[in-house]
């Protein structure tokens, strides 16, 4: 039995027995000091999120924040084409929502980047390079998407603007749109359950011994 299999059994047993972390939390330790938990695997295997009050923002169901309904419908269609899925596939809607969120928040991100104190901008330039900082300050995904959607409404051919297009040196609103869209779709898809499973990374990553060359 591999350790992962053992963990799975242990996790299932723990869940069935109703045993929980609070049993351990009863130990008298000052706040912020903790004992090793034996039930973290049931926590992980059951896919529990975080307890309330944390600073990490959890996923939320939301309405589109940037695209108008008709635009959003086209975004869903384009996302489906990019991923080779049907528009009604749950993962397509998940990724379209991610693209909408990033575009919708991009103006605020740009504003925050332009508002960096000089010292903090200096650090960013040294860390990321001047080009990357300039891009953060100037990239306008709203315009890229609006112009791109208009282009796509006329031309209706993803092949002509893709990064595998017959005329690779041609650049226009459509190609800029494709580049942006593909980048966001990659981020979204390969962080989705579907995408991670496709890469063989869909299960909790537990091993009995250190993984390395030749390990199973």
């Amino acid at each position: 039995m591999t350790r992962r299999e053992w963990f799975m059994q242990l996790g299932a047993g723990v869940v069935l027995s109703g045993w929980s972390a609070s049993d351990l939390d009863a130990a008298e330790l000052p706040p912020g000091v903790y004992e090793p938990s034996r039930d973290h695997l049931s926590h992980a295997l059951a896919g529990h999120g975080l307890a309330a009050g944390g600073e990490t923002e959890l996923a939320q169901q939301s309405q589109p924040v940037f695209f108008q309904p008709s635009e959003y419908g086209r975004m869903v269609l384009l996302t489906a084409l990019l991923l080779g899925e049907t528009p009604d596939a749950p993962v397509v809607n998940e990724i379209a929502a991610w693209i909408d969120l990033t575009v919708g928040e991009s103006a605020a991100v740009r504003k925050a980047a332009l508002a960096l104190a000089p010292a903090h901008r200096t650090l960013a330039v040294h860390y990321y390079g001047a080009k990357a900082v300039q891009e953060l300050e100037e990239l306008d995904p709203e315009a890229i998407c609006r112009e791109g959607l208009a282009w796509f409404a006329r031309e209706k051919a993803l092949e002509a603007i893709s990064d595998d297009r017959p005329e690779p040196h041609t650049e226009n609103a459509g190609t800029r749109f494709f580049t942006y869209l593909k980048g966001r779709a990659i981020e979204g898809f390969y962080t989705s359950r579907t995408g991670l499973e496709e890469l063989g990374r869909g299960n909790p990553n537990f091993h009995a011994s250190p993984p390395g060359c030749g390990s199973k």
């Binding site: 009050g53 080779g84 650090l123 993803l158």
Partner: protein, 562 residues
């Protein structure tokens, strides 16, 4: 708490403070630990088993919030969507630097300090570091030798657990190792070439991750997300390893959210305790103790000393000789080199989850065959070899199912390598209190004045040449050349020095037992005490020094000498 006089106040709850508290309380000394930040709660704050699709920003972070609240911290690789809570809000924790000398100050203020997010790399220093000045004539030796510190390294490693392999290298002494982790296939291929072509060992990192159970802590399960917290305490952090041990003694008291501003000194020139400000309410207070140990991180401890100004100590406690604040160091790195190993391209996924990489230890100026007279001291190489997850998706042209199939089936194998070198301690690299800027609690902020000198720049040239040779020998394709410039000072989060140890009170701040010269009941046990830095990560040495200092404090306390 008010009105009570504790035996010892320890300021800071990270790697150093945790060890001092554990050692003192286990010897019956009553310790009050003051931590500037809040407690972290595993079920609320740990995210190591959270999937990206469970997060609003899918792991990429709320960029607006990061830019607004953590414009410095966000530059640290670990300050991301999952782990930003372990890093300070820069608006509350300002510091300044000259426009042409950028400094990255990465800080974690909470119970546990930065030990939640440290990279766990644990190398012993050797007399190449402790006696460097005797070897090459630059600077000062430490006031002790490797032989003096060796038993304390043993004690730390036996308790926290360090995995690694014994290599019998004088420049990288072996430890009390747990079983080593394994190299990846790319690293194994590189090992053969590097050892044959350069005569250098390539070994798996030595890290404070448990490969077997130890002291009630289960072995690592290799989820590879250590910087997000660890429910099982399978790597060393103070809240799950040293602080519980202290708490079990019954002699330990922990107060979080207490921002210490300065030492309270009495007419005899000794500390009566510390002054602090409640983080949330901003109410100020004082706490008394017979001994004060500063373990608040290198620069924060020095800030407290500098801010402890009085008629008797106009330049702060320990500041009379002009050394306090000076000789700041951080490692130099040349990063981002690497490429693809075409022979290891595959369509099959390898197991992942090992929480470390490889290292090629320091050989330059550490062995007869590898002398370079263009600079003093030396550097190591490190990195890792692994399959791309989806980094190749954007460079794979096309879209749709066929494109996804290519991303899934054509998995490139990446090999990265960087060099990390020693930064010489120089008087003109210093911190001082900023005359105007204050933090959210009204405490003077630090002005940090640091840059790399001629020695580091000469070393960088040799690093670059070696990185190129390594990549040539490995026949890497699609190469990334190392960055043109050295890293920003502070970026490695290995800042050390500013209150260095030494035998001579005229040229050092602390004695050989971390005691402030002339103020016998004040100690500084964190990285501020470093005299040199070598090229290896400092935390293991900080812990060993802290244990040694705690032994001394306990003994002197027992004798009534403090």
């Amino acid at each position: 708490m008010p009105g009570k006089t504790y035996d010892v106040i320890v300021v800071g709850s990270g790697a150093s403070g945790g060890w001092v508290a554990k050692e003192l309380t286990e010897k019956g000394v009553e310790v009050l630990m003051l931590e500037a930040g809040p407690p972290r709660v595993p079920t609320r704050d740990f995210t190591e088993h959270i999937w990206p699709y469970q997060l609003k920003y899918r792991g990429f972070g709320n960029q607006k919030k990061l830019l607004e609240n953590q414009p410095v911290q966000r530059l640290c690789y670990a300050c991301d969507d999952y782990s930003h809570q372990f890093f300070v809000n820069d608006n509350d924790h300002p510091y300044t630097f000259p426009a042409d000398k950028p400094f990255m100050w990465i800080r974690g203020r909470q119970v546990g300090g930065k030990t939640f997010c440290w990279a766990r790399v644990s190398y012993r220093y050797s007399d190449f570091e402790f006696k460097a000045a005797s070897r090459d004539g630059y600077g000062q030796d430490w006031p002790f030798s490797y032989q003096d510190l060796e038993p304390y390294y043993d004690r730390v490693e036996n308790f926290i657990g360090v995995s690694g392999s014994a290599e019998n290298l004088p420049q990288l002494p072996d430890s009390k190792f747990l079983p080593a982790m394994r190299l990846s296939c790319g690293e194994l291929a590189a090992k053969e070439i590097v050892e044959k072509k350069f005569g250098w060992k390539l070994i798996v990192d030595r890290t404070a991750n448990l490969t077997v159970p130890l002291n009630g802590r289960p072995a690592c399960h290799y989820c590879d997300e250590c910087q997000r917290g660890c429910f099982t305490a399978s790597y060393f952090n103070s809240p799950s390893v040293t602080l519980p041990a202290a708490a079990r003694t019954g002699h330990f008291h922990l107060v979080s959210d207490a921002v210490v501003s300065h030492l309270v000194m009495n007419a005899e020139g000794k500390a009566d305790g510390v002054a602090f400000i409640d983080r949330a309410t901003r109410v100020a207070g004082e706490i008394r103790a017979k001994v004060v140990v500063l373990a608040a991180s290198a620069l924060e401890s020095t800030r407290i000393l500098l801010n402890s100004r009085s008629r008797r100590f106009p330049n702060g406690v320990g500041g009379e000789n002009g050394v306090l604040g000076h000789y700041l160091m951080d490692h130099t790195t040349l990063e981002n080199a690497g490429g693809v190993m075409p022979a290891l391209a595959s369509s099959k996924r390898e197991p992942v989850g090992r929480p470390c990489g490889y290292i090629i230890p320091k050989y330059v100026n550490a062995s007869a065959r590898n002398q370079n007279k263009n600079f003093l001291r030396g550097y190591y190489f490190a990195g890792d070899g692994r399959q791309e997850l989806y980094g190749h998706a954007s460079s794979t042209p096309g879209f749709g199912r066929a494109w996804r199939d290519k991303v899934r089936d054509n998995i490139p194998y990446s090999f990265s390598v960087y060099a990390q070198g020693e930064c010489l301690p120089r008087h003109d690299n210093y911190v001082a209190l900023d005359p105007e800027k204050k933090d959210a609690w009204g405490i003077p902020a630090l002005h940090i004045h640091a840059s790399y000198g001629e020695n580091e720049l000469a070393m960088a040239k040799a690093m670059r040449d070696h990185l190129g040779e390594i990549m040539d020998e490995l026949k890497l394709e699609n190469r990334e050349q190392p960055r043109d410039e050295l890293n920003i000072f502070g970026k490695n989060i290995h800042e050390c020095g500013t209150a260095r140890m030494g035998h001579d009170p005229k040229t050092s701040v602390l004695n050989a037992y971390n005691q402030v010269h002339g103020v016998k009941n004040v100690f500084v046990t964190d990285g501020a005490c470093f005299v040199t830095q070598g090229c290896s990560e400092p935390t293991l040495t900080i812990m060993a020094i802290s244990v040694r200092a705690a032994d001394y404090i306990a003994e002197e306390f027992r004798k009534g000498n403090l």
